[in-house]
């Protein structure tokens, strides 16, 4: 009897979204990538409600995306820094940004540019690590891991 196991898949996409898929989470991550590590600054730049952002930062610290670091004693002040795992979210941020640049930027073009150390404006592209070719959905076939 072949059971067509149609239970919800818990793929890596779903798992990742459980960590950073809540509202405002990725915008908080964006701000830290842009160098704004402080609560008030993040509130201003993201537009998130203070309460919501506070909650989000708490869970992102718990989940190992941010580290809460004391940067001033006395008025005890903390800033949020990316952990290594957090830093590896950069491709996610770049892909989202790229899509928005292409599909949602008005005539004025993208509202933010990134300059790569090679001297060019960064345009992010996803390639296959093995052959270095750009990847499009039609070149890819899903395979169940041997288990």
């Amino acid at each position: 009897m072949v059971v067509s196991q149609a239970e919800p898949r818990t793929c890596s996409i779903a798992r990742t979204l459980e960590v950073v898929g809540e509202k405002w989470a990725l915008l908080a991550v964006r701000e830290v990538f842009l160098g704004n590590r402080r609560f008030d600054e993040m509130v201003r730049r993201t537009g998130a409600p203070r309460d919501t952002l506070a909650a989000r930062l708490r869970t992102l610290v718990e989940r190992g995306i941010f580290e809460r670091r004391l940067y001033s004693e006395h008025p005890a002040r903390y800033e949020y820094r990316l952990t290594d795992a957090g830093r590896e979210l950069y491709p996610v941020i770049l892909s989202l940004m790229r899509w928005g640049d292409r599909h949602l930027a008005g005539e004025e073009g993208p509202p933010l540019l990134l300059e790569h150390s090679c001297g060019h404006t960064l345009v992010a592209e996803v390639v296959c690590e093995a052959c270095r070719e750009p990847v499009s959905a039609r070149d890819v076939r899903p395979v169940l891991p041997v288990g």
Copy 2:
């Protein structure tokens, strides 16, 4: 008077998240990339509540990510297909998946593998379109567009 315009930025990341950032949206997109274009199938594979998924599909169609296409008259049945814009979300999906594979897969490894047409298992990497080098956050500097 220098006004430190700290109003919420509407960057491309925020804009993109407004389109696909709601709960279940990207999982619906994932399913269609995996070839499951039908409502019931998506419900089963994602685990989303039926009504939430129905709402999500509606907005994703409105926003030009999916096309709702009749595949059977009489019992009128529709399936959801990616538009060109939707197909370009592939890098987002791949980046999320990659992060999950690295940081959230248990001992059994990733729950799903992708085979690239080059013959290797796909490992997605983000490179700078200009110099083809892998991009890391520290090689990048934000620049405000001349306006």
